[in-house]
Amino acid sequence: MAVQQIKFYQTGSFVVGNRLLSPEQRAVQADPGRANALTCGHRACQGCGEALGARYVVDTALRAASNKVIAVNATGCLEVFSTPYPETSWQLPWLHSLFGNAAAVATGVAAAQRVKHRDDVRVLAQGGDGGTVDIGFACLSGMFERNDDVLYVCYDNEAYMNTGVQRSGATPPAARTATTQAVGSDPGNLFGQGKNVPLIALAHEIPYVATATVAELRDLEAKVQYAMSLRGARYLHVLVPCPLGWGSDSSETIRLARLAKESGLFPVFEAERGEITGVSKIRRQVPVEEYLQPQRRYAHLFGPSPRPEVVARLQARADRNIERFGLIDDEVDN
């Protein structure tokens, strides 16, 4: 992993800062002078994982590019809650055009910077899973194919939350959404459908692809920093739990992101030019139930008429990830 594990400082490098560490050993988010790219007063729900993830990513990108970053945003929660006319929460140049064209607009912004010989100004495109996996997918694939100099960040909360929790191509199997109700013999979203965009991006053999969660800030910051050190098309996929759509308590956002990774359901890895170069090992493995049970979108799998066979299929998915990405090894780095 890109992150150096600091040991024996009470909390190692698991926490954001820690007074016992020198400032350069602390996360960007520990800095009282951090950019706060997404500032107070935004209208995201209580405990919003996406608001958190976006600030983590953009603050780190700003530091890496000496504050010279232009952000392009797809339509989605992040856009709606941050910019109700005439207010904005963004403290950097920020553009919004359409739901599906963020990657294309970002390509244009990057082209404009090239024409102006401003290679110091970096371009960041961001969107939710709807704007990335479904609606903006063609533009995104084109951006990858042309290797445009853009870091595209997908904040994945696994459904269209802003419009009322409809299924997206990133919604996991068995999850209940407004359009995949928990009824019938296969309740919730179907198995065997949907897209794994990190692996699709990998197949484009672009300079850098990575996944991350809001639970591992150090890892996320390191990936953004590394991505910003590269040129060309880069893709970062961040799991951001959504208390509203997942039916979880607002205080559980980070814990759920952690459990998604620790159960193996969300593999955290990075890759360069089509080759996986690192995975984040599971530190304390948990059965998928521990991740699923606190979420009401999976309530139909438990309770009075439980569906253990569905839970077993989800566990099999986790086990496959563990096997496929090598998420567990004998020497777990604690």
């Binding site: 954001v16 007074r19 016992l20 988010q29 107070c40 007063g41 559980e252 956002t253 814990r255």
Partner: protein, 541 residues
């Protein structure tokens, strides 16, 4: 300003939108009582001094200990560590080695010659302390800090009480004991050794003392009737241990049996081993689980070659041999005789079945009540006689050095209040910081640094200290294993995880502040605080 087409409003920041109005619950920073501090009989603020030690502030850490306990180096050797038993880290991997760190700090203070200044203005009052053991010396220390004149009288030829005459040298080297006592004497405490106070009230009146603190300890070994032949050699544990301070060491013989199951019994058996006994054996009527001695003492004794004869009583003693009867526990856990007997070879039988106090100092003092061979005191440690206080082993309590030190502090603060016609109010105790409040995910796995122990073969023949100290880097590591239960240690987690940037970082040592204009009350900071130092309150409606 000219506005673009179809735009009628000026652009503004979302900061105008005070999202704090959404809140139904309010996170607040708290300082809870960590289990270590809760468990300390001397009232040490353990988490607080570990906090200083964590950043290398050893002198600050030591001064924090000294505000409650004048004997860090002694504590680091003889305390039975209720703090470590209570430590929440024990549920994660192993308890923090609090005692090792305390010893490191105590030794560092002796090396560096750190002292505690008396800053209080002189009160003009003079207090007599009877007994120079842990309770008496702790009281003298705290009374000096509060501005009083103090005279300590002790019948022994050297100060320290049971710390000198009861604790073997291999657990507490005398140079350490002397250094910590000397530091108290140097603060201006008058020490009158070889002086026996016969009557507390009379001494108070005759020499013009304004108050008296009695801490005479419990130095008389309890006896029990054991049928014995004329030439049987029966001794009591206190005399044996006290004899170790004399020039002529006690003659125990080659085979020594010790009767009793407390720490004193083990101290005697281990001492006997060092004096040359080949086969010291401890005879105790109940099982190991029910032994009052501490586990590590039992373990160390067994390692050194002390044999344990659990579930047996001494039925008869003769020259060179004792007869023990095997016992078995009944349903309620009491030992019952079985009628089966064994013979053990023993040149001496040492009784270690408890100690009692010599309470002649309060004989005939009006108002003082004695029940079950101990002196009754009220919450302020005062006896029934105005101005005469008592503590340590002579009052009803657990008989440990640390408890005695706690008594000395409590008595000193109450004596001070009484002399000033005030009432001493003990500080309120905060809510206990349970393990369930913590977020253990964030703590790195870090096993405890065990203090190296002397090779068993070597210690069985010498009185060298058995447990040696940690060096600086391991002590620092150990201090940093503290999980800071219920108290902020500035890890920046709350500042990092707030999706609304509603937490302000106030700078080193200043902690954080919540901006309730924007805090939506999601409680992510509460859930992700490693130390459980943020509580949730319902929002005022």
């Amino acid at each position: 300003m000219e506005k673009p087409f179809a735009i009628t409003l000026d652009v503004g920041s979302s900061r105008a939108n005070k999202t704090g109005a959404w809140r139904t619950q309010r996170p607040v920073y708290t300082d809870l009582l960590p289990p270590c501090s809760d468990a300390c009989p001397a009232g040490e603020q353990v988490q607080q001094w570990l906090y200083h030690a964590e950043e290398g502030g050893y002198e600050r850490a030591w001064r924090q200990i000294m505000s409650d306990n004048p004997f860090p180096a002694i504590m680091g050797r003889v305390c039975y560590r209720p703090c470590e038993t209570a430590c929440n880290r024990g549920r994660l991997d192993e308890a923090v080695g609090i005692n090792s760190v305390e010893r490191f700090l105590g030794d560092e203070a002796i090396r560096q010659g750190w002292t505690v200044p008396v800053e209080a203005a002189s009160s003009g009052r003079h207090v007599l302390v009877v007994g120079a053991g842990p309770a008496g010396l702790a009281a003298a220390y705290h009374l000096r800090l509060l501005g009083h004149r103090v005279t300590v009288r002790d019948s022994g030829s050297k100060p320290g009480g049971m710390m000198r005459y009861g604790i073997p040298v291999y657990r507490l080297p005398r140079d350490v004991l002397d250094a910590e006592i000397q530091r108290i004497v140097d603060m201006g405490v008058t020490l009158e050794l070889g002086t026996t106070v016969r009557d507390a009230a009379e001494a108070m009146a005759a020499d013009g003392f304004d108050a008296v603190f009695l801490a005479v300890g419990a130095h008389i070994g309890q006896r029990t009737y054991i049928p014995a032949g004329d030439s049987a050699r029966i001794m009591d544990a206190v005399s044996v241990l006290r004899g170790m301070e004399d020039e002529d060491l006690p003659l125990l013989g080659r085979r020594v049996a010790v009767y009793g199951g407390g720490n004193t019994a083990l101290d005697v058996a281990r001492t006997a081993k060092r004096l040359g006994a080949t086969d010291p054996i401890v005879v105790y009527r109940r099982s190991r689980e029910r032994m009052p001695a501490h586990d590590f003492e039992v373990a160390e004794a067994i390692e050194e070659g002390v044999r344990m004869n659990w579930l047996s009583t001494v039925a008869h003693a003769d020259a060179g041999t004792i007869t023990v009867e095997r016992m078995e526990l009944d349903e309620s856990g009491y030992p019952q005789p079985t009628g089966e007997f064994d013979e053990l070879g023993a040149d001496a039988l040492v009784l270690a079945i408890g100690q009692v106090s010599d309470l002649s100092v309060v004989d005939g003092v009006p108002g003082v009540h004695v029940a079950d061979a101990v002196v009754e005191v009220d919450r302020t440690m005062m006896t029934g006689h105005q101005g005469i206080f008592a503590g340590g082993d002579m009052v009803p309590a657990e008989r440990t050095v640390t408890t005695a030190v706690g008594h000395g502090k409590l008595a000193a603060r109450n004596i001070d209040a009484w002399l000033r016609h005030r009432r001493y109010a003990e500080p309120d105790r905060a809510e206990l910081a349970d393990y369930d409040r913590l977020n253990p995910w964030y703590f790195s796995d870090a096993p405890k640094q065990h203090r190296p122990r002397l090779d068993a073969a070597r210690r069985a023949s010498t009185f060298d200290e058995v447990v040696s100290g940690l060096d600086e880097s391991t002590a620092l590591f150990e201090a940093r294993r503290c999980m800071s239960c219920g108290n902020c240690f500035e890890c920046d987690n709350c500042y990092g995880v707030c999706p609304d940037n509603a937490i302000r970082k106030l700078g080193p040592g200043q902690r954080y502040e919540i901006d309730y204009d924007y805090c939506k009350g999601c409680n992510l900071c509460v859930a992700e605080c490693p130390a459980g130092a943020i509580s949730v309150l319902p929002e005022r409606s």
